[in-house]
Amino acid sequence: MKLHEYQSKTIFSKYGIPIPKGRVAATPQEAKQIADELGGRVVVKSQVLVGGRGKAGGVKLANNSIEAEQLATQILAMEIKGLPVRKVLIDEASAIDQEIYFAITDDRSAKRPVIIASAAGGVDIEEVAHKNPEKIVKVHIDPLLGMREYIARDVALAIDLPREYWRDFTKLAMNLYEVYKKSDASLAEINPLVITKDKKLVALDGKMLIDDNALFRQPEINEMRDTDADAPSEIEARKYGLSFIKLEGNIGCMVNGAGLAMTSMDVIKLFGGEPANFLDVGGGASSEKVAAAMRIILTDPNVKAILFNIFGGITRCDEVAHGILKAMDEVKPKIPMVVRLVGTNAEEGRKLLESANMITAETLADAAKKSVEAAKKGK
């Protein structure tokens, strides 16, 4: 789960990391009022869950509160990469000497947290990583020991941070690790971490990603969820515990198991079709889940055919077939359905579905071909 900048920085601040004075506003009037409180000269920052806000014109400097109101009006009317701007963060403007990149994230390969830091922080960090990888410092942390002061000093040395800032930087690094650990973040990023003209370290921007598997013990963070970036069908699917991702094609997919679901999409594409979604109905594929999944797939008007691909291992195919029939009875879909059942009791399951006028297939390749044909006829 992604957090907004203002949410991330609020968490940073709770853990003692210095952030600029500022507040979030939903209207231009609020923006003006906050700018007045902060003395007029502020930065107006769109709060959307995509990168590249600045380059899209979603971050602007205002010299006074009137300008802040105008800019907030402009920015609140924007869409950035398809997402509406519903809130702007109004931060006091900082006088900056240097921009540093500083983050803690999961290193999948090393199976432990890693600090990533660079003296060349700011909006072009990805370009730096690409063109001058030697300017990016990486230091691993043993998750049983956590952040140690010497590790933070090693990082400070590696990015040539002047000695006068080591003390503050060490404290900040320890605090950011606490943020990462206590919030179950998979990324806690400060970019840029700035040295201001009055010689202070300030987290000017913040970004956090939270491990979905840990949300059960992060009730406060779970409340912060912004669903603007999710399709309505994805939000609906979440309610039923279905793993669903909307895509642009016209062949709906219902599959048990995530790997097989991805594969079914790939094989549809291999035979010239385009999948309309990723969907894992889970191991049991009960009739309730199948019905919910069918309703969700059918809310997409692009869908011209549905492919069911069920591997019956522990689950029996005849049981799944009954589930599908019950769901069809309830949802009454009007588009062709291609079903492939393999494994335990597949023959019985296929017979049940053939009698219900569904197109059956033996192999995955065959099922994909038949659903591509069915979708073409449906146009």
Binding site: R112, M262, F278, G313, G343
Partner: protein, 286 residues
């Protein structure tokens, strides 16, 4: 021979009295005689499977009474890290965690601890292991695979069943099938298992089933290119997956342009691996 589990495995089941635990214990015990008992704290002294298998309060007690050498975990995600550590502390050398949804930072701490103890963990979020005809340690259906000389390793569940089933239909059997799981931080990776297969006398060929996310397939390609003598065929799921979206498995995500199927296929082909266009094609590539 086979890898990790065989007919001499002595298996404990953590969470044996739970719904999932009991169901799969029944299946595993019906496949072969390897289950020696189970653990549910607070239910020590009870028996399951018509009095055939004893239940213990702790892994330590269970290990002392049964001399078990492996333990499989079927407890809910929030209790799974503790279950893994308990098994490791009791001296169990092979731990298989089926549970899906374990928090990533918990797994990193668990991994750091297990690495010091030299304990082998398979999973979490995996279907477990199957040595056809000898031992079923997990949830892979026993009837879809036959004994043979092909080692199978995979990050997936039902996709693996699909491949085992396609192999069986061609009369091709498996030495051992290892499901390493779909999480970003797990106990055993592709390279570990490829090395086991390379050293296993019964395994002559290997099938590796990967998917988008991370870089373990690329590392495996490096191992295959430099160290492996046995032929490897592969399939990579997620060629049509959009970037930035988690495709069901916690680890199946393309991040910052890295972890794409195209990159993995390229790395594997460069290592001499034949990569199938769809899973049913894999067994025909040897």
């Amino acid at each position: 021979m086979s890898v990790l589990v065989d007919k001499n495995t002595r298996l404990l089941v953590q969470g044996i009295t739970g719904h999932e635990g009991l169901f799969h214990t029944t299946q595993m015990a019906a496949y072969s005689d390897i289950v020696v008992g189970g653990i549910t704290p607070g239910k020590g002294g009870e028996w399951v499977l018509d009095g055939k298998l004893p239940v213990f309060d702790s892994v330590k007690q269970a290990k002392e009474s049964t001399d078990a050498n492996a333990s499989i975990i079927f407890v809910p995600a929030r209790f799974a890290p503790d279950a893994i550590l308990e098994a490791a502390d009791a001296g169990i050398p092979l731990i298989i965690c089926i549970t899906e949804g374990v928090a990533v930072q918990d797994m990193m701490r668990v991994r750091s601890y297990l690495d010091q103890k030299k304990v082998r963990l398979i999973g979490p979020n995996c279907p477990g292991l199957l040595t056809p005809g000898e031992a079923k340690v997990g949830i892979i259906p026993g009837n879809i695979a036959i004994p043979g000389n092909v080692g199978v390793v995979s990050r997936s569940g039902t996709l693996t069943y699909e491949v085992l089933y396609a192999m069986k239909n061609l009369g091709m059997g498996a030495s051992t099938c290892v499901g390493i799981g779909g999480d970003p931080v797990n106990g055993t990776n592709f390279t570990d298992v490829l090395e086991m297969f390379e050293n296993d006398t019964k395994t002559e060929k290997v099938i590796m089933i990967g998917e988008i996310g991370g870089s373990e397939e690329e590392r495996a390609a490096d191992y295959i290119r430099t160290k492996m003598t046995k032929p490897v065929a592969s399939f990579i799921a997620g060629q049509t997956a959009p970037p930035g979206k988690r495709m069901g498995h916690a680890g199946a995500i393309i991040e910052g342009g890295a972890g794409t199927a195209a990159d993995k296929i390229k790395a594997l082909e460069a290592a001499g691996v034949k990569v199938a266009k769809h899973p049913e094609e894999i067994p025909t590539l040897f």
